[in-house]
């Protein structure tokens, strides 16, 4: 891919496109792993935010991370595109493979990782630029200069994010003038514009009203066939509505005799969404999904 050449780093990230071509022929039950996290623990300074998380994310599925605050679900999500690297005091133990290659390997560039693995944030955060410039930002920094090419990318990304019809007549207006739901779809378009393989969503609907939330959820279903999506959500109904698989995280308290108990996030249970909600194996999962705690 031309992006990799421009990067100047031998990233050796495998091509999802090659795999995507064959996906039509493979039977539906055949699951292609995208991420494989092995015994991941993440620390902020001496604070152990999550402990010993192992799970596999599959291609063209929507995986939901649910759990109470402080259970480390966002922290794990941010490990998938090395966003935690930006926090100076954060470090990670364990390993995450992305399509068979170690994501944190010595010759893997975090910039290339983030290009391939996009992120949508909790609060809609368009850049204070025009709608067009917001979407064109990613392609531009990745070296696409030709106006006609950029136009194409902007239109197709906004189409995919189901925003094109609403904004096509005001592409030069500021992205800050959009409503919350529109702004979040703009942020999704901005992420899709760099043609990622995976889209990570960190509570993308927590700042939106139910109608805007519904549109984002529809959108997730529409783009699922082309992308792999991981979504962190506080909303269990949302997890049941959109996801194929659900990981339930919880807070583990270690009470120490000295009175200063430590807390850390753990992955309690991971399975198909149906299994997690209808037949949870762990009592903590059951308590959470039935609304008894958290």
């Amino acid at each position: 891919m031309e992006q990799q050449e421009r990067d100047g780093v031998t990233t050796r990230l495998p091509e999802p496109a090659a795999l995507a071509d064959t996906s039509a022929e493979v039977p539906e039950k055949h699951l292609v792993p995208v991420f494989d996290a092995k015994s991941v623990s993440i620390f902020y300074g001496s604070f152990r935010a999550v402990t010993d998380v192992s799970l596999t994310i599959y291609e063209h599925e929507i995986t939901a991370f649910i759990g109470s605050s402080g259970s480390g679900k966002s922290t794990v999500l941010r490990a998938f595109n090395r966003m935690n690297d930006l926090v100076p005091i954060a470090h990670m133990d364990g390993e995450i493979d992305y399509r068979g290659v170690s994501l944190y390997g010595p010759d893997v560039s975090p910039v290339a990782v983030r290009r391939r693995i996009g992120m949508v944030f909790q609060k809609p955060n368009p850049f204070p630029k025009s709608i067009y410039e917001n979407v064109a930002y990613g392609p531009r920094i990745n070296g696409i200069r030709k106006k006609s090419h950029l136009d194409e990318i902007v239109e197709s990304s906004l189409q995919k994010a189901a925003l094109w019809d609403e904004v096509k007549d005001r592409l030069n207006k500021s992205g800050l003038g959009l409503s919350g739901g529109q702004a979040q779809r703009l942020c999704i378009a901005r992420t899709l514009a760099v043609e990622p393989d995976v889209v990570l969503m960190d509570e993308p609907c927590s700042a939106l009203d139910p109608i805007a939330t519904g549109r984002i959820e529809d959108l997730m279903h529409e783009i699922k066939s082309q992308y792999t999506i991981v979504i962190v959500t506080h909303n269990m109904q949302q997890a049941t509505r959109v996801s194929d698989r659900t990981a339930f995280f919880s807070v583990l308290r270690n009470e120490k005799p000295g009175g200063n108990d430590t807390r850390t996030g753990v992955l309690v249970e991971y399975g198909t969404t149906q299994q997690i909600f209808e037949d949870p194996h762990d009592s903590r999962t059951q308590a959470y999904v039935t609304g008894r705690i958290g």
Binding site: R115, M119, F127, P128, Y137, I141, L176
Partner: protein, 289 residues
Amino acid sequence: MTVDTYSERARDSAPAASPAADRGRRRPRRRWGDRLLFAWTWLIIIWLALPIAVMIIFSFNNPHGRFNFTWVGFTLKWYGPHLLDYPSLTTAMENSLIVAFAATVGSVVLGTLVGLALGKYRFRGLGTANLVQFAAISAPDIVLASSLLAFFVTLRVPLGLPTIIVAHIMFCLSFVAVTVRARVLTLDRSLEEAARDLGAGPWATFRLVTLPLIFPGVLAGALLAFAISIDDFVVTSFVSGSTQTFPLWIWSATRNGLPPQVDVLGTLIFVGGLLIAGGSALFGRRGTR
């Protein structure tokens, strides 16, 4: 968004005491308190503007000698080649401009970095570093001036333009750092993360996202730095050696009378400042839409 509140505040501040004004508009007769407030406001404005108005008026005066204190007649001649009648004044003005530009550039570069560090990161000594900025702002000029002079003399640095510039960068830096820091504190960190997520490196993120967002703070800091530097007297007089700047020249000339050229240069600086302030207000308004 932060930018929104910024523009709203700018719009709101134009009609001061807007609830009172609204009430006044609905009732046919203005309330007594409103009138008093109105008169008081204008009194303050006049008080602030009167000396400047006198200076501008006397820049068009046509006195016979160097004493430009009584009105003789209107002339535009000081705005022509006669402006340069006093070579030492011209040199002093040039020096002031050189110092002000150098101090602005130097303090904006260093102060922006300091402001970013203070606003973005939590580190040991953050509180002290913050305190030092405010201490530098609130410290009396005379303290800065005498300590700087002692510093330069101890190090045997010859006094002149370079020492003036170093001193000016020093006291302008904190103003820039404080305004930039205030802006950085309102930054939504996820914007930078979003830029990084799209594949921007640290430098590209700074140039394309962070800098445009903190630019109003940087600009405000730069304007402050320029304004503080160009009229500084106390610190400059200590560290200038035999070099003269505009304020130093005026000070030394008062005994022999101030020629109209001083009023003209003063007027030009004032108009320049007005244009820059107006321009930045315009820029700010456009930037937030």
